[in-house]
Symmetry: C2
């Protein structure tokens, strides 16, 4: 009997907005994202909120309630907001997924209703996974509140939680219905979180946009703590988000089914370093080191010039990132040791599927994929970072305190 060939396309579209004070009753952005003259209103909505926000935004839950009350012709907050731990803890507790599912069930949310996820990337990943698997996908509005989530993960198409000690072992590809980037949340980030998100901007600058990399170099002092210029940061977030969105839309393979890659420069080492440091290193801090490592390696294999490597390490340091942590070194001569950095290569290949693919740099603004690496040269690259970190620390120590 004749085989039947099935073929179809599914279109996805969503808007990424930039605003301030999203939950002020006069801000119409969230209402506009939900209102639809062709659908029954008001829309039921369940909010998942990052506990870490409540320290600096004590009345956030009340604000969300007051906002939906003020717009009750469009929004029906169907339950009290679900408050979940921020950071990687959000992705390490499978009960949190069950908790969100239970609220979705109890409030009788349907597939045309909304989950509103407010928080850092980990909370958005958790809430997105719960929303994406209930009724085969409830609509999701993301409100990323960190630099990292506003310029990278929060605007993308993935969700996930950790399982079996493996980052993002569970998850789906599932684009949001809208992303509302509220820049006012960035003010209250601590210095480490403010800084950490800039590493993804360095990444896309290095891979895709040399002019943007130059912007980062020129504005390093303005961006870095203690200055923390919000206008400069807003530009960085917008450009970085745009480059990520463009990569997803134009890669030809947004759900990474084939061999196309996400923009994961420096990420094989970063994921391993997060694990090796028990997540005391933030994702963005680990990415900064991972990028520095792959840049040093790119130089050692004759791709990136010494001048460009210097420029990259200078920017990374100027922003206040470490270039080196001791976990880079440990067991480096024992590739099979579970705590060896090189185990990150295997995990990386496994998670992405297919053969190993590592992004390197031929020049600033010009990435290149390779499928094998020279471990001895990576050991040398680690030693470059250790030396550079030492040299820069010495310089800092020799300078008078300001």
């Amino acid at each position: 009997m004749q085989s039947i060939h099935q073929e179809f396309s599914v279109s996805f579209s969503y808007d990424v907005h930039f605003t301030k004070t999203l939950f002020h009753p006069d801000n119409e952005l969230l209402v506009d994202a939900v209102a639809d003259p062709d659908e029954p209103m008001p829309k039921k909505m369940v909010a998942v909120v990052d506990e870490g926000l409540l320290d600096h935004h004590e009345s956030l839950l009340d604000q969300i309630q007051a906002y939906t009350d003020a717009h009750d012709e469009t929004l029906d907050l169907a339950a009290s907001p679900i408050v979940v731990p921020g950071g990687e803890a959000a992705k390490n507790d499978p009960d949190l997924v069950d908790d969100i599912h239970e609220v979705i069930y109890e409030t009788r949310l349907d597939r045309h209703a909304y989950v509103l996820a407010v928080g850092g990337g980990a909370v958005l990943d958790l809430a997105g996974y719960a929303a994406g698997t209930a009724h085969r996908g409830i609509r999701l509005i993301r409100v990323p509140t960190t630099v990292l989530s506003q310029n990278d993960s929060g605007v993308g198409v993935k969700n996930g939680i950790n399982a079996f000690d493996t980052k993002n072992f569970l998850g789906t590809f599932d684009p949001p219905d809208a992303v509302l980037n509220d820049l006012s949340f960035l003010r209250t980030l601590d210095d480490r979180d403010w800084r950490a998100g800039i590493s993804e901007a360095i990444k896309v600058g290095l891979l895709k946009d040399a002019a943007f990399f130059d912007y980062l170099c020129e504005h390093a002092a303005a961006l870095a703590p203690p200055t923390r210029d919000l206008d400069a940061m807003s530009h960085v977030v917008h450009r970085c988000a745009a480059l990520h969105l463009n990569h997803i839309a134009t890669s030809g393979d947004p759900f990474e089914k084939g061999s196309s890659r996400p923009l994961d420069f420096g990420h094989w080492a970063a994921h391993k370093l997060e694990e090796l440091t028990n997540y005391t290193l933030r994702h963005g801090e680990a990415v900064a080191i991972g990028i520095a490592l792959d840049c040093a390696y790119s130089h050692l294999v004759g791709r990136l010039s010494a001048e460009e490597l210097d420029q990259i390490l200078d920017l990374t340091s100027a922003l206040g990132f470490d270039l080196y942590v001791p976990e880079l070194d440990q067991h480096l001569d024992e590739p099979d040791h579970p705590d060896c950095l090189f185990q990150g290569l295997d995990s990386f290949r496994e998670h992405l599927g297919g053969e190993l693919t590592i992004m390197l740099l031929d020049a600033i603004g010009q990435g290149i994929e390779v499928h094998s690496v020279d471990r001895d040269r990576y050991r040398k690259a680690v030693s470059i970072l250790r030396d550079q970190q030492g040299a820069r620390t010495d310089i800092a120590r020799s300078q008078p305190l300001s």
Copy 2:
């Protein structure tokens, strides 16, 4: 700051094959589905097998092992097959999802590796959900082994399990990489399962293809037990699968994000009847009653002619389906009672999202959507089925035993 509009499409394609003795070493279909000159071989594969198959196919696990051994340049069976309960039990135990995830983790399956799901629709739904959520989606090959799964759910784009006493509360839209319909499995189905799958063929015939409906009428005796003609059934499975695939590809909304509907004629009542009978009624048996009910209602609201209703009820009876079960009646005057049939309308609307949409018939081959129903007329439709069931039972009793 300017909003960014994101828009992209994702293409999906897969082949649905029809074969016999799929796991005979000379049958190249499974090898061909996996082999790819552009990817590293052999491919790791984990098999999930329906326990119910092993009664009639005692050596199935050995056959799968022998098959992959015989084709070890392409296939690497990475673990012993995972045997899971067949039928709805597969979807009611969340531990089974965890078990499959654990094997996927332990065998280090990556996103370009395969889960091979062998069984009835429930097992395919379970295995598909586990595969679709590990590493954001491992490739899935479905080997449906029942009429129902070969002509309907197994060729589609959904997976799912039950939670909170709600059918398919958890799941994703995630097309398979291939569907291999092995018709030889149909021979060993018991009579109820053989028959049950035909109800989905009645459904697509009524909605989409009057000529196919005529084919079913003409071949009712050949299809029904005890004759069980495999050639006639093969034609039914192929045509029904083709109509389902075509609906998915041409509906304009394969993942049902908007208001477009799956081919769910008769399903609002069917889902409720499955629940009310504690799943002693098979899905296909419940669908047969649900279709009969919505046809009777279509007649009562002046759409379907009396002659066409008779023809539909005749076919349903001739195939050996019941037209009525007592659960249709109970609490029918108490719409808010949890065991009232009408509760199925609410659940149906909620699961699909948006406003209530029920498919009715204007004529055989011509469906029509409506957004509200008259409960009194539905009560009358139930009484028609009760009377018809009685009349047909009386006729059967008055005939001499053959």
